[in-house]
């Protein structure tokens, strides 16, 4: 069902009812536009433009959400990571348990470049991403020799190897356990200070230049990922997920396509990791740890693997619980002072676990799957009434 997003051909399974929808019906027109690339990218851009305002500054809504600017930026950064990860997990059907290697590796690479060569944000993103691509090439080449659980374990092992390398043998580069401190991020195009607020209406919506920079890259990442899903690759990836042996026996070089899926997904992780360094001006050693690999799996599955935007939603929910819900002192009944649970925020891991189990149990296609079901329900109603 979530496949529909990336797959215009799969729609109109029932031509007569979709013809009935076209015409004066606004909903029908929307259904037609929905699959188009321009629509998807445009809606993403609108979302990115209003998200920090709604989240951190809008009256009522933001009071309720309790969001803040920097978290909005972080959600988009992890969102880029999740989109790339889902190309591998949701579409190609390969579970990597070592994507911290690309996220953390790119974070370190861009930080080291900033300290030693140039703190230009664009140079940082390009160098971090290039590092992640080369690393994904190497680790993919080694890990994809095996399938299934062995592939997952190999990726985990290589990523942990990177973690221990960064912790001690390479401490002269990475600053070991303390993480890479003192990363000096330069001005964008030499003039724009990223931490500064954007003046006037742009500032009200977007907040900082950093958010605008990340937001621009996020929209570009969505456009590229959506195009990949609509290219021959998108079809081949899903074919490999569905029936790898058959894909080989129609004459496709499955191994090379899998390697490309791994590299593309590593590139997205690399872009995100570099932005993470720019965002925090610091690289924690934690960024290479296996828990980061686990987080991205949980976020992707929570939001809905195999859908374009599900993983981004998963990122939002995860980071929201981790950063906002965890600070709630006591859970009260709304608009009263009656305390339900004391030290509610303390249990955020438990809450996240319960949400995750509930989602996987009730809607295996993730939170985005719920939206898909509602949409199908509505479109059946709208189509049926005509």
């Amino acid at each position: 069902m979530s496949e529909e997003d990336a797959n215009p051909n799969a729609k109109d399974a029932n031509p007569s009812s979709s013809e009935a929808l076209v015409g004066s019906d606004l909903f029908g027109r929307w259904e037609q536009l929905r699959g188009r690339e321009g629509t998807v990218v445009g809606l993403t851009a609108i979302f990115v433009a209003v998200f920090p305002w709604l989240f951190a500054r809008a009256p009522v809504v933001s009071d309720f959400l309790q969001g803040y600017q920097s978290l909005a930026t972080l959600i988009l950064i992890w969102g880029i990571f999740a989109i790339g990860f889902d190309l591998l997990l949701g579409y190609t059907g390969l579970l990597s348990f070592g994507h911290a290697a690309f996220w953390g590796g790119a974070a370190y690479a861009s930080g080291i470049v900033a300290k030693n060569i140039s703190g230009d944000p664009i140079v940082m993103v390009v160098s971090g991403t290039l590092f992640a691509i080369l690393l994904a090439w190497l680790l993919g080449f080694l890990s994809l020799r095996r399938g299934g659980i062995y592939f997952s374990i190999l990726t985990l092992a290589f990523a942990q190897m990177m973690y221990f390398m960064a912790a001690s043998p390479l401490a002269f580069l990475t600053n070991g356990e303390n993480g890479l401190t003192g990363v000096d991020v330069g001005n964008l195009f030499g003039v724009i200070h990223l931490e500064a607020d954007i003046p006037s209406i742009g500032g009200m919506l977007l907040g900082t230049w950093l958010y605008a920079f990340v937001g621009f890259i996020f929209v570009a990442a969505v456009a590229v990922a959506y195009r990949i899903l609509n290219s021959p690759y998108g079809m081949v990836f899903r074919a490999i997920r569905e029936n790898e042996q058959r894909a080989e026996f129609v004459g496709l070089n499955v191994w090379r396509y899998k390697l490309m899926a791994f590299i593309i997904s590593g590139a997205f992780a690399g872009i995100a990791g570099s932005l993470f360094t720019i965002h925090g001006a610091y690289v924690p050693l934690q960024s290479l740890f296996w828990t980061e690999s686990g987080d991205i799996v949980v976020m992707t599955v929570l939001g809905g693997a195999g859908s374009m935007f599900g993983p981004v939603l998963g990122v939002g929910v995860y980071l929201y619980i981790e950063n906002i819900v965890s600070t709630v002192q006591a859970l009260t009944i709304p608009f009263t002072d009656i305390v339900l649970i004391k030290d509610f925020g303390f249990y955020w891991h438990l809450l996240l676990g319960i949400v995750f189990v509930a989602v996987v149990w009730v809607v295996p296609d993730g939170l985005w799957g719920i939206i898909g079901r509602v949409r199908t329900f509505v479109s059946d109603r709208m189509g049926g009434e005509r």
Binding site: P232, M235, E248, N253
Partner: protein, 252 residues
């Protein structure tokens, strides 16, 4: 020069000889059936030719060139396609996409870097997929998710995928296995029609003797891994060794 040739082909699984010194030739435009009792090594032979299995010894030549060191997808790219014994399709993809996957491999090769090119631009792939679906009678169901097809149609799609890879030689492993009499009938009609329209060379592995005798130019009989007889349907019908292989086990 024959299209396909195996030379002293042997496959052993542990102590069991599944393929015993097989010398098989298939000429261009020929329709060859491989028959034999259960466990005669028919599927093993097909799997050796498609490179799903490595031979213990011997050589396989396609269009005069040895293919024993190639990967399965390279063999398909040379022009050998296979339809599986079970409906081996891409269940969550649409019928059209199932055909397009194979057409993509046929038109654009085993691998490419076109990950930023929109699929709508691949008109050659769309054309091949549409023609193939038309010839297997599934064009009207092109937008159906493959897993929702009835079993007979899944097997048709399976043959469609094999055809969309535009093979010179099509290997069919029991195309009517598990089918109802009606489905079998329509599959046989499909094979007859493919034979007429595409002029394909094919090798058929089949249990149903009626089908074998009606659509083959030549029949090869396997028993215990080796060829015990080959000839036209009429020659095979009266062959004593064949009768022995099929009935002997029962009598003893």
């Amino acid at each position: 020069m024959p299209l396909l040739e195996t030379e002293n082909l042997v496959k052993e699984f542990g102590g069991l000889v599944a393929t015993d010194d097989v010398n098989l030739t298939v000429e261009e435009d020929e329709r060859v059936s491989i028959i034999g009792p259960n466990g005669a090594g028919k599927s093993t032979l097909i799997n050796l030719i498609t490179r799903r299995l490595d031979p213990t010894s011997g050589d396989i030549r396609f269009k005069g060139e040895s293919i024993v060191n190639l990967e399965p997808h390279e063999v398909v790219q040379r022009g050998v396609s296979k339809s599986f014994q079970t409906a081996s399709i891409f269940p969550d993809l649409t019928v059209r996409e199932n055909a397009e996957i194979a057409a993509l491999a046929a038109e654009r090769g085993a691998f490419g870097f076109e990950f930023l090119r929109h699929r709508d631009a691949l008109t050659d792939v769309h054309d091949v997929a549409r023609d193939t679906l038309n010839s297997v009678g599934l064009l009207e169901r092109a937008d159906t998710i493959a897993t929702d097809l009835p079993y007979g149609d899944k097997r048709r799609l399976e043959i469609g995928i094999a055809l969309a890879s535009e093979p010179d030689l099509l290997l069919m492993d029991e195309p009517t296995a598990g089918m109802s009499p009606e489905e079998t009938k329509s599959t046989v009609e499909l094979i007859e029609q493919v034979k007429r329209d595409h002029g394909l060379t094919f090798v058929l592995v089949e249990h149903d003797m009626e089908i074998v005798f009606s659509i083959s130019d030549r029949i090869v009989v396997l028993s215990r891994g080796g060829i015990i007889a080959e000839g036209t349907p009429d020659e095979i019908r009266g062959n004593e060794a064949v009768q022995e292989a099929y009935l002997g086990g029962v009598e003893i």
